[in-house]
């Protein structure tokens, strides 16, 4: 069974009284547990919006078309309360957002601990794990620095450590290599690959970067709010692949 399964996913944002943006116009997507998927497309193609829906941050629109379906680990996500979706985000998902989304008053290690505490870890446990994850991304010696004292790349790696702190089944990352130089970028891809292969963690990476795309199992290409193509780069889990819907 797919880890994430969505059908008829639509999302319209109202920008003004008459100005609406149809960010997603009916998308079907299926992501298997243990897959490493790239979500690619030009700006405004709806890839970030799709990531927000898959990450249970937003609910798909119910009106103007067939009823949307969205399940995570076999659970119907369209009927979940805010509290349930929050709990799933805390315990089973990890997020890396565009730009450096760290809490400015907290140190690097405290930022990573925060996600652990949201998932119910004690402070001590959260701290131990946070230090281990910072070590993993090569930032252990910067643990007590505030975000303002870290470079863009360092902040990005703190965000990645935070996404990994609870060993989530699914990691959703928006431009994870966006602020990294090519060496750091390659290192990070290596780490993601390793976690994906060794721990079976599922990754969905929203990216512009073709190099990131080719490092994945599969690329879902989007344009104008629709999935235009699904490319198999290499296929570790043969069988069901996501289908494009128009």
């Amino acid at each position: 069974m797919a880890l994430l399964e969505g059908r008829n996913l639509r999302k319209t944002y109202k920008l003004g009284r008459k100005n609406e943006v149809q960010a997603l116009r009916g998308v079907a997507v299926s992501i298997e547990a243990g897959e490493l998927v790239a979500l690619m497309g030009p700006s405004g193609s709806g890839k970030s919006t799709l990531m927000h829906l898959l990450g249970l941050l937003h609910s798909p629109d119910q009106n103007h078309g067939p009823a949307p379906e969205l399940s995570f680990g076999g659970r119907d996500a369209t009927r979940m309360s805010d509290g349930e979706r929050t709990r799933i985000r805390a315990h089973e998902m990890g997020f890396v957002f565009q730009q450096f989304n760290l809490v400015p008053t907290l140190t690097a290690v405290e930022n990573v601990m925060l996600a652990g505490e949201y998932a119910g870890l004690s402070r001590r446990e959260a701290r131990e794990r946070a230090i281990a994850r910072l070590n993993m991304v090569g930032l252990a010696e910067r643990a007590t620095h505030r975000p303002s004292e870290l470079s863009g790349g360092e902040q990005q790696r703190v965000a990645i450590a935070r996404a990994l702190v609870n060993d989530p089944a699914l990691v959703l990352a928006d431009e994870p290599t966006g602020n990294l130089d090519s060496r750091r970028s390659a290192e990070l891809l290596g780490l993601i690959r390793k976690l994906n292969r060794e721990h079976g963690q599922t990754f969905v990476l929203v990216t512009h970067d073709a190099e990131v795309g080719v490092a994945c199992d599969r690329i879902i290409r989007m344009r104008d709010g629709l999935v235009r193509a699904v490319e198999l780069v290499n296929d570790p889990t043969p069988g069901d692949v996501g289908e494009a819907a128009a």
């Binding site: 941050l57 709990r87 957002f97 405290e110 996600a115 949201y118 935070r162």
Partner: protein, 388 residues
């Protein structure tokens, strides 16, 4: 820890908000202490009048020291329902002093034993002894606590009052009210001093032992006190009979006005302090929209966001309350110390007032923080993340 760090982020704004609350709580503490003092004076007054009737000459008023003929004691004692009638003399310790604000130092002449055991709530003696029946002709005095301190006298010392020398035989427990500034002496001595005060025309026609300024009446068991007071006023010409109920009525209305002022101060500090906390927290939420979005996105629950912000608001209230209480106690202490020598003790800061003030401002902060926190918790995490 992170609450304090968040408050420290906008030091000036937080400091200003805390200052606002501090001023409100300061006012609450100072006015509250003044109200405490007044109600404790009133309570002692109520106790003093409880179960007895104080008869004075109509022209004298509440603290009146108009002369009455001591012969009236027998007239009153003969009235139906009177168990005992005791003459007393109250007069200013120093007739020259007129500061007008505070309780003046008083001499009270008493006839120990004449109440036949009816007197309740006597002020306890801290050192030495109380006046006794066989002191009647002696020049002995029991001093109120403030007077003893003012004159620097202890038990066994001698004290000169209006040209008469008294041996101090006892010091009263402090009551924070009138008895602290009172010297209790045997009736005869007080009558002697009171006589000196009277205009020469009157003085030539009376003897000291014919004088009283008040007659305390103890009603017999089961007598209606109010009805007895009416009977006394009807029987004794020019008499004013004061009962506990009447005292409460007269004094109660001025206390009520004062309490209304306290409630007003509390309300103003509630509104001003509350609005400034709401404002501060609303700005905080606006500034931290992005941060709140991050926290919600990575799994922070709404309740957690609310807890954090309400905690911050409560901390602002608590700090304002503690500072206000601290400042208020300093003012109360300094004002009381400055007034002690002249007997002007205006404030009484009770533990209840202190606890109420701090609790009040903390709850105020929490309540004011709820609306902004609730708004923050309802933010769409994705929109909040994109917020610039």
């Amino acid at each position: 820890m992170s609450l304090l760090r968040n408050l420290a982020r906008r030091r000036l704004r937080t400091a200003l908000t805390i200052t606002g609350i501090t001023i409100g709580i300061w006012a609450l503490v100072v006015f509250g202490s003044m109200a405490n003092k007044i109600s404790s004076i009133v309570a002692i007054g109520s106790d003093y009048y409880a179960g007895k009737i104080v008869v004075t000459d109509k022209s004298g008023g509440l603290s009146g020291d108009s002369p009455m003929a001591i012969a009236l004691v027998d007239d009153i004692a003969a009235i139906d329902g009177v168990a005992a009638a005791v003459p007393g003399v109250s007069t200013l310790l120093d007739p020259e002093s007129q500061d007008g604000i505070s309780m003046p130092d008083m001499i009270v002449g008493d006839l120990p034993g004449a109440d036949q055991g009816h007197r309740k709530h006597p002020v306890q003696v801290a050192q030495g002894r109380a006046l006794a029946a066989d002191d009647a002709a002696a020049h002995v005095a029991v001093l109120g606590s403030d007077l003893a301190r003012k004159f620097g006298k202890g038990v066994g010392d001698t004290l000169e009052i209006r040209g008469m020398t008294f041996e101090v035989v006892g010091i009263l427990e402090p009551t924070l009210t009138a008895p602290d500034a009172t010297a209790l002496v045997p009736l005869a001595a007080a009558q002697e001093m009171f006589l000196q005060d009277l205009p020469p025309v009157v003085r030539q026609n009376v003897r000291a032992d014919q004088l009283a300024t008040d007659i305390t009446v103890y009603p017999a068991e089961g007598t209606d006190v109010e009805a007895l007071a009416t009977r006394i006023e009807a029987t004794v010409p020019n008499a004013s009979a004061m009962t506990a109920a009447e005292f409460d009525k007269v004094v109660g209305s001025s206390v009520a006005i004062f309490n209304a002022i306290i409630v007003g101060v509390a309300l103003i500090s509630l509104i001003v302090g509350g609005l400034s906390v709401i404002n501060t927290m609303a700005m905080t939420v606006a500034e931290r929209t992005r941060e709140i979005g991050i926290k919600r996105a990575i799994g922070g629950s709404r309740a957690r966001v609310i807890r954090e912000l309400v905690g911050e608001a409560g901390l602002i209230g608590l700090l304002g309350g503690l500072l206000g209480l601290g400042l208020g106690s300093v003012v109360v202490y300094l004002a009381n110390e400055a007034g002690r020598s002249s007997g002007t003790i205006l404030f009484q800061l009770t533990p209840q007032t202190a606890i109420f003030a701090v609790l009040f401002s903390t709850i105020l902060g929490v309540v004011a923080g709820i609306i902004p926190a609730w708004n923050a918790a309802r933010l769409d995490p994705v929109a909040a993340l994109r917020y610039e």
